[in-house]
Amino acid sequence: MAREIYAYKCRLCDTMHYPFRMVCKGCKQNDFFEFDTVPLPKSGTLLTFTRVYNLPAQYDVATLGLGIVELENGMRMLGQLEIDEPEIGMAVKGSVDVVRKEAYDDYYGMVFTAA
């Protein structure tokens, strides 16, 4: 089964959240965990990007592509880019993969390629 990253929809007012919040930013009325999880779309357009050269110690790569993507439902997320020459506004598609490795843990996140 394909891995997903989830947004959180308030059960009272339908406001979508990513990242997760304890209290809904729309109605501020929800009780504990009154959210439904909704998978984030994996297609979108590139809003902005960078290529980083001085990485935190855990990364054993020379450079890392990062970008903010406007997803097709209007929400945004940050992800790693595997795109040689990114451009603002280009169509991208994402898949969930390992984005950070530490001694005993792998962290999964969205990795975008050109659509």
């Binding site: 990513y18 902005t48 960078t50 290529r51 001085n54 990062l66």
Partner: protein, 391 residues
């Protein structure tokens, strides 16, 4: 609410310092205590971000209180990311304004060079959103770079504008003996010559090495007192007249308009409202130029220039010494250095120096009203302060 005055200031050289963290804070504090002419305080606040993680030390304020023989004064450390310094000043203001305390020492300190650059970068990156930013390898230069690209696209800011901020501030630091960077740079050296790409490589495209502040150790301190105490001490009467603080979304991508820094705007509006001032009244400003783009954007968001025109004012020299609103005449974070917990206090130190007329070669003539902007996170926790010379 009582009025609150700055009676003393102190600072250490910003550089790599081979002293224990608490002694760096204590050194700056001693200078401030001597400057004010006091040997006892009711309370001290110590601003710091990294002691537990970088220096393996907790409960820093207790250590500083004892080192300075200030016992049994109250003491507490304040951790608020890169805006720890101004947040501690706000706490000191509240203590004096409320009538709870008459004399408060506020010290800011950081010793980041105890670890290597990779660890220092990771330490700062821990302020990003853990699950939606940090795990991807986002660093503060990466945030600033993505923001810069949007600003370039929307408002026509270029790498040349960024380099102009870097040259202005790093060369201004030559007039500040406490500043970290004491090396003159030129547009030719960092942008226009064939060697520029080697001298000034990318850190996070489109940001280059000289667009970022250095990693520094250092401390700064100020003494806040009531009006009666200020008059008794007889130092120049400089009132902390306005305070604004605002927060914004933790995850930067979630902001509705990604080129706005709403917490900067709100913090400045609140500080001006409290002080009864407008941006036009300000004679000298310290903005948080951890990255060159930030000086341009903050100069707009605090209200010195219309949105999207900060880089045009920079081109005309309006933000340089002698310009309409001189910004970061002591080097800013870019030239003075950025020991994160110390920065907000160091900004106040510079403004008080200016309002006392003690700026030497970097003095803004006749400065009576000053502003500091301390930018935490990537704009998710911002404190703006205004200072007024009253005598």
């Amino acid at each position: 609410m009582r009025d609150v005055y700055v009676a003393g200031i102190g600072i250490t050289t910003f550089t790599r310092l081979e002293y224990p963290l608490s002694e760096i804070a204590a050194y700056a504090s001693m200078m401030a205590l001597k400057d004010a002419g006091v040997t006892e305080v009711d309370q001290l606040y110590v601003a710091n971000m990294g002691a537990p993680r970088v220096n393996h030390q907790t409960a820093l304020a207790s250590a500083v209180a004892d080192t300075l023989s200030l016992l049994p004064a109250g003491a507490a450390a304040i951790e608020n990311g890169p805006a720890s310094g101004a947040a501690a000043i706000k706490a000191g203001f509240q203590a004096v304004a409320s009538g709870l305390d008459d004399v408060v020492l506020v010290a800011g300190v950081e010793r980041m060079r105890e670890v290597n650059n990779l660890e220092a970068t990771d330490f700062i990156a821990t302020l990003t959103h853990p699950l939606t930013e940090y795990i991807y390898g986002v660093t503060l230069p990466a945030h600033a770079a993505m923001f810069t690209r949007l600003y370039m696209e929307k408002y026509g800011v270029t790498e040349r504008h960024l380099a102009m901020v870097g040259v202005k501030n790093q060369n201004a630091a030559l007039n500040n003996e406490w500043a970290h960077l004491q090396q003159e740079i030129s547009m030719e050296g960092i942008l226009d010559s064939p060697e520029a790409m080697t001298n000034n490589p990318y850190v996070a495209e489109p940001l280059r090495f000289f667009d970022a502040c250095p990693v520094s150790d250092g401390g700064a301190a100020i003494i806040l007192v009531s009006k009666e105490k200020a008059e008794e001490l007889g130092r120049p009467l400089i009132r902390l007249s306005g305070i604004g603080q605002a927060t914004d979304t933790h995850a930067v991508f979630e902001r509705e308009e990604p080129t706005d820094l709403l917490a900067v705007r709100k913090a400045a509006e609140d500080a001006f409202a409290m002080a009864g001032l407008t941006p036009e009244d300000v004679d000298v400003a310290e903005l948080h130029d951890a990255f060159t783009i930030l000086e341009i954007v903050e100069s707009e968001e605090v209200g010195f220039f219309p949105k999207g025109e900060g880089h045009l004012a920079l081109e005309k020299g309006e933000t340089a010494l002698g310009g309409k609103i001189p910004i970061n005449v002591g080097g800013g974070l870019k030239g003075r250095g950025h020991p994160v917990g110390a920065t907000g206090v160091a900004q106040a130190w510079e403004i008080v120096t200016q309002l006392r007329g003690d700026g030497g070669k970097r003095q803004v003539e006749g400065a009576r009203i000053g502003l500091t902007l301390n930018f935490g996170g990537f704009g998710n926790n911002v404190v703006c302060l205004t200072f007024v010379r009253e005598d």
